[in-house]
Amino acid sequence: MDAILFFLFAAIAVVSAINVVVQRHPISSALSLVGVMGSLAVLYLLLGAEFIAAAQMIVYAGAIMVLFVFVIMLLNTGAEQSSRKGKVLTIVAMPLLVIFLGVVSYIIQRGFPDSPLVKFGEFTGGGPKDVGMALFTRYLLPFEVTSVLILIAIIGAVVLARKEME
């Protein structure tokens, strides 16, 4: 059952990711990206990360993607024109990507020849309680620093997006 769920949602994730790359219209890419994030949330659940799965759906698929769709609809740029960047990039980059993927897969297979089987329910330390306990004890300082980061991001976004005063 775990294997079926993994293969199903891994396939959905990969197909949606390919769709993100090949679609010409940004709105189709954005909706495919929501598909990637949703299937990744299911995979997080299989790995026992309940809190992260919920946060993935709420923060990524909810907030961030709504922001993207908002901007796409606001700008209304339409479909992308065909690239003038030339075929050189494609010819050079495509084999490099395939080689990268092959090398990484080889290293993973060699480095983890007997990696553990992923069984749902075997690791139960990813609930909100465990994450909260670690977040407010060992990771308290990084957590506080992120609040400063978010404050800076808010100020930056407001400054960038405000109307120019003539």
Partner: protein, 108 residues
């Protein structure tokens, strides 16, 4: 016809390979796409692939630390999306285009 032999569980390395595939697709989108917004979405795709690696290793070590790294990556991604989309709005307002090869003022 006998049913296909489906394994009961998959090894953890499958998750890592899936994340490598998603990362490579993100890099492909980053390199080949022309629209600034799609390039930005490819970066989000790469961040998601890395998050999957963190959670998978967290499962292997039976520790919650990887989940916290994922959490912090999400926070940074949210902040980045807010600022980045504001920059995209400003660029479009000033130049009327989102094609990355036409926004080249910094080029010599």
């Amino acid at each position: 016809m006998p049913p296909l032999p489906v394994p009961a569980a998959v090894p953890l390395s499958y998750y890592l390979i899936l994340s490598a595939v998603l990362f490579a697709l993100g890099v492909a989108g980053f390199l080949f796409r022309r629209s600034l917004i799609t390039v930005f979405m490819s970066i989000e795709l790469m961040l998601n692939a890395v998050n999957l690696t963190f959670v998978a290793f967290s499962y292997q070590h039976k520790q919650v630390d990887g989940h916290l790294f994922t959490f912090f990556v999400m926070v940074v991604a949210a902040a980045e999306a807010a600022v980045g989309l504001a920059i995209i709005l400003t660029v479009y307002k000033n130049r009327g285009t989102l094609a990355v090869d036409e926004i080249d003022s910094l080029k010599l």
